[in-house]
């Protein structure tokens, strides 16, 4: 159920995200989900890609500082109350959301929520008990990027 997410450190200055993105473009890596958290000094670019290990090695080989962490992908109905329903399931469980981001599923009525939990295992149990659908890595990548060159970048 856990999905690998790649984070990249970048200074908060013009042009600082361009270099790693150019590298990913050259290597044909498609970014399936992306979120940039920023402070005045720096930002953390969080991405979900098909082959997290290979992309990590690629970025590290070019001197970028990256970190792989585990997140959960939660599928919800893309309509008012979708997120509130998930949060309601977590309420009272004491499980901490470190951060989250969301994106709509392009060709359907679903939205995907990406959560970074303090305790992902407890979160899995809690959400499953509430009947909330968690996407496996393959499911997320296939569903969301069905027109993309999965085979190539996953190789």
């Amino acid at each position: 159920m856990k999905i690998q997410q790649l984070s990249l450190f970048a200074e908060n200055k013009p042009g600082h995200i361009a270099a790693p993105m150019r590298l990913l473009a050259q290597e044909g890596v498609n970014i399936r989900a992306l979120y940039l958290a920023d402070t005045q000094q720096y930002g953390i670019l969080r991405m979900i890609v098909a082959d997290c290990g290979a992309v990590t090695r690629l970025l590290e080989a070019h001197g970028f500082v990256v970190k792989v962490s585990e997140v959960l992908a939660v599928e919800v109905a893309d309509r008012p109350g979708g997120l509130a329903h998930v949060l309601g399931a977590l309420e009272g469980s004491g499980i901490n959301i470190e951060y989250m981001y969301a994106f709509p599923y392009v060709r359907g009525d679903k939205a995907i929520l990406i959560f970074r939990f303090g305790d992902p295992d407890a979160a899995i149990a809690c959400l499953q008990t509430a009947g909330i659908n968690l996407l496996a890595s393959r499911e997320l990548l296939e569903k969301y990027g069905s027109t993309q060159d999965d085979g190539e970048s996953a190789a």
Partner: protein, 443 residues
């Protein structure tokens, strides 16, 4: 500038008499005092005695001033190794004051004074001030920091010793400094030269015309400065700017000071014996050759320093000053032979920054110290390259690391420091190593 100043009044201060000793008499006095201080250190300071014994030397081997070259140097790490009281030559009951400055590893350097030492210190600062043309009736605003730092109290006692009126303002609070300057009719400002520039800028913003104030002299030290800074200070005010030199290990401010000729700093040679050495070989250099300044305290009771390597680069100026003093002069100290930085009057070594950074991940990240000046105050930024061990996908965790780094550096350096986390491999490197210090303060 300050042409109204009566030079004769300045030089008539009784404390200034030793400034004009005939040279043979001065040398004789120095030799007599040198033998005295060496005898005292030999008797009272085990560390010094064993150093001499290792070299087969005894006090009676010092028969002339030139014989001083036989003696081993004392270096800053000797003070650290004997921390806190290992170099004291007086029992604690005779010590009336302790001061401290930061050392290389976070442990401070401690210095001690007997009442006689405090009196000596006061007398040399009185001589500094008299040489700058200051006298009873002057109102001296002392904006050096009061506390463990020797600057504040040293200048304070000297100003009182002169018979002037002291405003013990200490550092900071620029608006209040300017208000008091105006309201009290301050005639002399004592602070770091960069802080003086800051005050002059603030005065401009407050609409205070410094040229309309009675302020006519400034005694500036505790950091390296330049002729360009002097010109700027003097163009923005009626201040005649004087350079004062000193270091805690020797006595504090008052080791030397400019006179009104502004051609080098007179060293109070009857108390401090100066030598210039080649920092690489330790060879004594003749006057007129630049090298590292080495000082021996000739009269210090509580903590004599024998051939202390200051790490300050200067030369002893040949010839006699037009002012008539027989005291030799050193050139303005602008740089050092080690990597010590002086930031807002605080001694900072890059190695201290390293030891602070090492407290985190156990491996040393690449870092760079950026020094600049904002509002006349030194600003120190430590840029740290983020390593994979330090990096975290959670902003909160990175922010916490950032804050811990700042807190640790504050603690180790005794100075407010800003930390900037930067990308890996982003710092300038030469031969694979990052340039450790970029100093943009000297203008």
């Amino acid at each position: 500038m300050s042409s109204a100043l009566a030079t004769s009044a300045a030089d008539s201060h009784p404390a200034s008499a030793p400034d004009y000793l005939p040279v043979p008499q001065l040398r004789e006095l120095q030799l007599q005092r040198l033998r005295g201080v060496i005898g005292r250190a030999w008797q009272q300071v085990k560390f010094f005695r064993s150093r001499l014994e290792q070299r087969g030397l005894a006090p009676q081997d010092i028969r002339s001033l030139a014989d001083i070259a036989k003696l081993p140097f004392t270096v800053k790490s000797d003070l650290r190794d004997t921390y806190p009281f290992g170099l004291f030559a007086s029992p604690m009951k005779d010590i009336v004051r302790l001061h401290a400055s930061s050392g290389t590893t976070g442990k401070p350097i401690v210095v001690a004074y007997t009442q006689e030492d405090v009196n000596t210190w006061t007398s040399v600062i009185v001589r500094c001030f008299a040489g700058c043309g200051l006298h009873r009736g002057d109102i001296i605003q002392n904006a050096y920091g009061y506390g463990l730092f020797t600057g504040g109290l040293g200048v304070h006692y000297g100003a009182e010793g002169l018979g002037a009126t002291v405003i013990p303002m200490s550092g900071g609070n620029a608006h209040r400094q300017i208000m008091l300057m105006k309201d009290f009719g301050t005639t002399v400002l004592c602070c770091t030269p960069s802080y003086c520039l800051h005050l002059l800028e603030c005065a401009g913003e407050l609409g205070v015309d410094m040229k309309q104030l009675p302020l006519r002299a400034g005694v500036f030290g505790a950091e390296p400065w330049t002729e360009a800074m002097r010109r700027r200070i003097e163009s923005l005010s009626n201040i005649e700017a004087f350079d004062i030199y000193g270091l805690s290990e020797i006595i504090g401010p008052g080791v030397g000071c400019e006179c009104r000729r502004h051609q080098g700093l007179h060293i109070f040679e009857d108390h401090f014996y100066p030598e210039i050495i080649d920092p690489a070989t330790g060879e004594v250099q003749p006057d007129g050759i630049e090298g590292e300044l080495v000082l021996t305290t000739l009269t210090k009771q509580a903590m004599p320093m024998i051939r202390y390597r200051t790490r300050d680069i200067a030369m002893l100026l040949p010839g006699r000053c037009e002012c008539g003093r027989t005291l030799r002069r050193i050139s303005r100290v602008g740089r050092r032979s080690d990597d010590m930085l002086i930031v807002r009057g605080v001694n900072v070594f890059p190695s201290q920054v390293e030891s602070a950074l090492l407290q985190f991940e156990g491996t040393l990240p690449q870092y760079q110290i950026l020094l600049g000046r904002e509002h006349g105050l030194d600003q120190m930024v430590v840029q740290v390259e983020v390593t994979p061990q330090m990096f975290n996908d959670k902003i909160g965790a990175l922010q916490a690391l950032h804050d811990q780094l700042e807190a640790t550096l504050d603690r180790v350096l005794g100075l407010r420091v800003q930390v900037a986390l930067v990308e890996a491999r982003s710092l300038q490197r030469s031969e694979g190593k990052a340039r450790r210090v970029i100093d943009r303060r000297i203008t």
